[in-house]
Amino acid sequence: MSESISLAEICISSSSKAWKGEGEILATGIGLIPRIAAGLAKLTHNPDLMMTDGETYLISQPAPMGKRDTSNDQVEGYMSYSRVFENLWGGKRHAMVTPTQIDSFGQTNISAIGDYDSPKVQLLGVRGFPGNFINHKNSIFIPNHSVKTFVKGEVDMVSGMGYQNKDLSNGKFEIKLVVTNLGVFDFNGENNNLQLLSLHPGVSIDNVIENTGFDVIIKSDEVTQMPTSDELACIREVLDPQGIRNSIFGE
């Protein structure tokens, strides 16, 4: 590999670990990095994952980013929106999503910023977050780790539930992994606090503390594991040959 390893590639490799050991479930990566990461998980450590073509069909190989000849897709099953709900209410799914805000409880927001009745910024709406987070495991990717995304107190409109309400989820709620532009985290600190697992190259503990609106437990300050040459080959040659991933951090 002559090319240097990009931050996007580090984030993809780290994010793909979300689906490690998850078995035969539906993997949904929403957005650029999560989608490539889900594909990487399927191509490396978890070939049993089910993935869609981004629309209605389950296909045998992850759909690469960018324009492709879909006639090459090996369709193996059907996953209409209706079936997505059936699947996820049954808990057989792990999604990686990018909320606009996340708080110390792991609560997430994609609905609206500011006062609910006349929001400063209206976003998408809660979409499937309430159902996703109460029914199956999720992981989070945040490309812009700051006090605006990792907010003090609670998120403005709780769209996905948090750890303080875990009992309401019949044991299904779990945020497995949180990957950001600064490092890798989970919520397995004492009392389900956010904890740092590793820092991306060039990032300091202070960077993380300054950019997080609540306390972070520093479990480890080691540098994030770099993508292996196998992983890089999958990312660069199979999943994103056009390099669309580099747009996320302007690399």
Binding site: T56, Y81, W89, L124, V126, G131, I134
Partner: protein
């Protein structure tokens, strides 16, 4: 049996303050020609239930919505719907914001003549904080779990766009995803269909075609022939969504007059001509993700 109706026939069935469900999903297979017709009418104060796209945005831009029952409003490739955002940020509409699965659950309850269906979805979120009308129900079994009682979303009218129909209302949605149109039809007192094609029953394709008949004709009140009626949303497999037009429409949130003069307050045929004609629309490729 002949259920063929005109735009005016559908408008005559609408009244101020009624609850309308709109089929489709985001920027996909929305009955846009009917939505534009509502925007031309003097109907107001609607409660709208939708997996929202430009149907919701256009109704917001014309101040037709009193209350929106929704999980999201999005134009797919353009994630945020500018007209809806503006209406929300100016506090012009009331909302019942739900998880998108709760929306189908409420439609299903209505479809089954039930007052509610239980679910965990919504627990632990501000969906319950902001919708105080949502009540709880306790499981009568030994688990005694406290659940959300998602109320039936009963509709006065459902508006649905399909690929094909005969005069009796035997409809076919041949795109790969029928979304939740069946539930909208079942949840409504009356359902009006706009259809790309109106064909004879013989031309529906017999047993092979019947697989695409997603709900039975007794649910259909009227059928409107609306070729390219979903534009600028997609109608698979015939045409994709018109991204260029959706961008122009999105931009129009800043000043609506120009867009309106160019494309609205027209008959459906005039609208189709204004966006380049049926042939142009039928050549818009299907989106790829």
């Amino acid at each position: 049996m002949d259920k063929i109706v005109s735009y005016q026939d559908v408008i005559d069935q609408l009244f101020d303050g009624m609850t309308i469900g709109v089929g489709g999903w985001g920027a996909r297979r929305k009955p846009m020609s009917l939505i534009r017709e509502i925007c031309r009418s003097d109907i107001k104060d609607l409660t709208v239930v939708s997996y929202g796209g430009p149907d919701v945005g256009l109704l917001c831009a014309h101040k037709k919505i009193k209350k929106l029952i929704f999980g999201f409003v999005s134009l797919d490739m353009i994630p945020l719907e500018s007209h809806f955002r503006q209406a929300r940020q100016k506090n012009e509409i009331d909302v019942m914001e739900l998880d998108e699965g709760m929306v189908q659950w409420g439609l299903r309850a209505a479809a089954m003549n039930l007052p509610f269906l239980p679910t965990r979805v919504g627990l632990g979120t501000d969906v319950l904080t902001h919708n105080l009308e949502l009540e709880y129900v306790t499981s009568p079994y030994s688990d005694a779990e406290k659940l959300v009682a998602m109320p039936a979303l009963n509709l006065d009218i459902a508006l649905i766009h399909v690929n094909k129909s005969d005069e009796k209302g035997n409809t076919q949605i041949v795109g790969p995803d029928p979304f939740f149109d069946e539930l909208f039809a079942r949840a409504a007192c009356k359902t009006f269909i706009s259809s790309e094609e109106v064909v004879s029953t013989q031309e529906l394709g017999g047993k092979d075609g019947a697989i695409f008949n997603r709900f039975e004709r007794s649910l259909v009140t009227g059928v409107l022939h609306a070729p390219c009626g979903a534009h600028p949303t997609s109608c698979a497999p015939s045409y994709g969504f018109d991204i260029k037009h959706l961008k122009e429409y999105s931009e129009a949130a800043k000043s609506f007059d120009e867009y309106s003069a160019k494309y609205l307050n027209k008959t459906h045929q005039e609208y189709i001509d204004s966006v380049g004609g049926a042939e142009t629309i039928l050549n818009i490729p299907l989106p790829q993700f």
